[in-house]
């Protein structure tokens, strides 16, 4: 075979696929609650735990969780991280953000949905490390226009 002169190259490709995820009755009601600024959990009658987001069945007992409970909109930070990099779909104007897990008062788990801390100049990193701590108290701040999805809670504000 003759000596190869070309540098190996690539061929570009792009796929776009729309998805529609069924929420089912429990998660539909959970997000309907968001429209009314209410955070709803469900309670397992076997182990007694209240979980948020509301669950159709208890992950541990495998029993249906049919008892609805409106829970507190205040809680405690379990963990947090300061996101300061970009990648596909994340542009420089979208960062920084502070992701967190929050244990709401009276709930038996941490928030299992995207949760972010805000309400002050989070570009000021010194300020962030002063205000945001494991154990700090926070409160939900809702968007003015709510659409019944996880974005309806705009951010969680630190209670000073």
């Amino acid at each position: 075979m003759a000596e190869q002169k070309e540098k190996p190259r690539k061929v570009a490709s792009m796929g776009m696929v729309p998805y529609e995820m069924a929420l089912g009755p429990t998660w539909t009601r959970f997000f309907e609650g968001f429209k009314e600024k209410r955070i709803l959990g469900t309670k397992c009658n076997k182990c007694g735990r209240v979980l948020v987001p509301a669950r159709p069945f208890c992950p541990r007992c495998f029993e249906p969780m049919e008892e609805w409970v409106e829970v507190a909109q205040e809680g405690t930070i379990v963990t947090w991280s300061y996101v300061n990099y970009t990648y596909f779909g994340v542009t420089p104007d979208m960062i920084p953000v502070i992701g967190a897990t929050i244990k709401l008062d009276g709930v038996d788990c941490g928030t299992g949905m995207w949760t972010q801390i805000g309400g002050f100049d989070i570009k000021d990193f010194e300020l962030v490390t002063k205000k945001v701590k494991v154990g700090a108290r926070v409160k939900a701040v809702w968007r003015r226009k709510r659409q019944g999805n996880f974005r309806d809670i705009d951010y969680w504000k630190i209670i000073e």
Binding site: P8, K10, S13, G15, Y19, M21, L23, W27, F31, L51, P53, P59, R60, V78, T79, W80, S81, Y82, V83, N84, Y85, Y87, F88, G89, V90, M94, I95, V97, G99, A100, T101, K103, C109, G110, T111, G112, M113, W114, F125, V134, G135, N149, F150
Partner: protein
């Protein structure tokens, strides 16, 4: 656990940015080396196991179709096994179960990723279920949240955790310098690591694994075949795997039950009661240096909440009581689907004295580990030089 099983050959590609090769060629590079290492041919193999991250990573759905020839699976049974970051352990376990059961004598296991053909973070984070969809931060934020939870739970001083994570990163990068196949091969100081740009605080640039292309192949055999074919097999002493609940807030990620239980199972099977003393080397899955600290505890290698102290006193450094990731670990090379199988291959190299410049002198018992999912899965394989 059924019949005894051994590793009789391993092969890894040169990891890194491999735009020079098509994806099937990359897979072939590892497979060919494994056959050469074992001294057998594809016709000796009874079946093939393959795994990678989800197809969207490189845009080829069911990529085992694309690799059928490179995997030498034509005319043979094929299993695909996939559990996210823990895929590499899962494919190994699939083969170990297969051989241990007596249904096969020799099984080829292959795992790969060619991350420069797509966008790993986009794949992992842009399409998720209704509670996490279109979030910002990718895998680094998930595991940074876990690390912070661990620091908060044990009230670990921020500066102490920072120092220990920097040592983990420096040690791994020194390992990478000794491993000609590693992707990242640079000399770093603790200061380089602790002053690097923030990615997902507390995690900084050199606390994070790279985006890598690479493949790994490992051949497993029954006792009878291993003794016939291989002068120095690496024997499977114990395995363990655990999954846990999906919603991240439902259980503690600081006291990570899936790591704890998976390792306990593997230690029990291997007859290990004091892993820190009995193991000679550990290939801990460490895509994030802070996460390795937590793993050291959950793998039972030091008391809970004390990993920073043990790391700072050098227990897991080269020449320490239990050197971790002498290959450079995931911090120096992360073709995700393959990364867990590379840990198995590296453990086999160590206990058979074939690890070259990164050999831990006289290693007889080695742990390999990987984790995956939304902080959800952990797999362990322990290999030894004696049956």
């Amino acid at each position: 656990m059924g019949r005894a099983v051994a590793v009789i050959g391993t092969g890894q590609t040169k990891h890194g940015r491999r735009d020079d090769l098509s994806y099937p060629d990359l897979v072939r590079e590892a497979v060919k080396k494994a056959f050469e290492d074992a001294g057998i041919t594809p016709k000796d193999v009874d079946g093939v196991v393959y795994g990678s991250m989800p197809s969207m990573m490189e845009g080829v759905a069911y990529n085992h179709f694309y690799f059928a020839d490179a995997l030498r699976t034509v005319g043979k049974p094929l299993f695909r096994t996939e559990t996210c970051g823990s895929t590499g352990q899962s494919v190994a376990h699939t083969a170990i179960h297969w051989v241990a059961s007596g249904m096969a004598d020799i099984v080829l296991v292959v795992a790969s990723e060619k991350e420069h053909e797509g966008d790993a973070q986009a794949t992992m984070m842009t399409i998720l279920e209704p509670f996490l969809m279109v979030t910002i931060g990718g895998a680094p934020v998930a595991f940074s949240l876990q690390s912070r939870e661990w620091m908060g739970y044990y009230h670990i001083d921020e500066d102490k955790a920072r120092e220990a994570a920097s040592i983990v990163s420096v040690d791994s990068h020194d390992g990478g310098l000794n491993n000609p196949l590693a992707h990242i091969r640079v000399k770093l100081t603790k200061e380089d690591v602790s002053k690097a740009p923030i990615i997902t605080y507390p995690v900084r640039l050199y606390d994070v694994c790279p985006v890598s292309d690479g493949a790994c192949a490992v051949i497993f055999a029954s006792e009878e075949k291993a003794k016939k074919i291989c002068k120095k097999p690496a024997w499977v002493k114990g395995i363990g795997f655990r999954g846990e609940e999906y919603f991240i807030g439902d259980s503690s990620k600081a006291v990570w039950q899936s790591t704890i239980e998976a390792s306990k199972e593997a230690y029990k099977e291997a007859g290990i009661t004091n892993p820190l003393k009995e193991l000679d080397v550990a290939e801990v899955y460490n895509p994030f240096s802070y996460q390795e600290l937590m793993f050291l505890e959950c793998l039972g290698l030091c008391p809970p909440g004390e990993a920073p102290d043990y790391v700072i006193k050098g227990t897991f450094s080269p020449g320490g009581e239990l050197p971790c990731d002498p290959s450079g670990g995931v911090l120096c090379c992360n073709p995700i689907g393959a990364a867990g199988l590379i840990r198995v291959a590296e453990a086999a190299l160590q206990v058979t004295g074939k690890a070259g410049e990164h050999q831990v002198e006289g290693a007889k018992l080695a742990l390999s580990h990987a984790m995956g999912g939304a902080m959800q899965f952990n797999g362990i394989t322990i290999l030894g030089s004696e049956l």
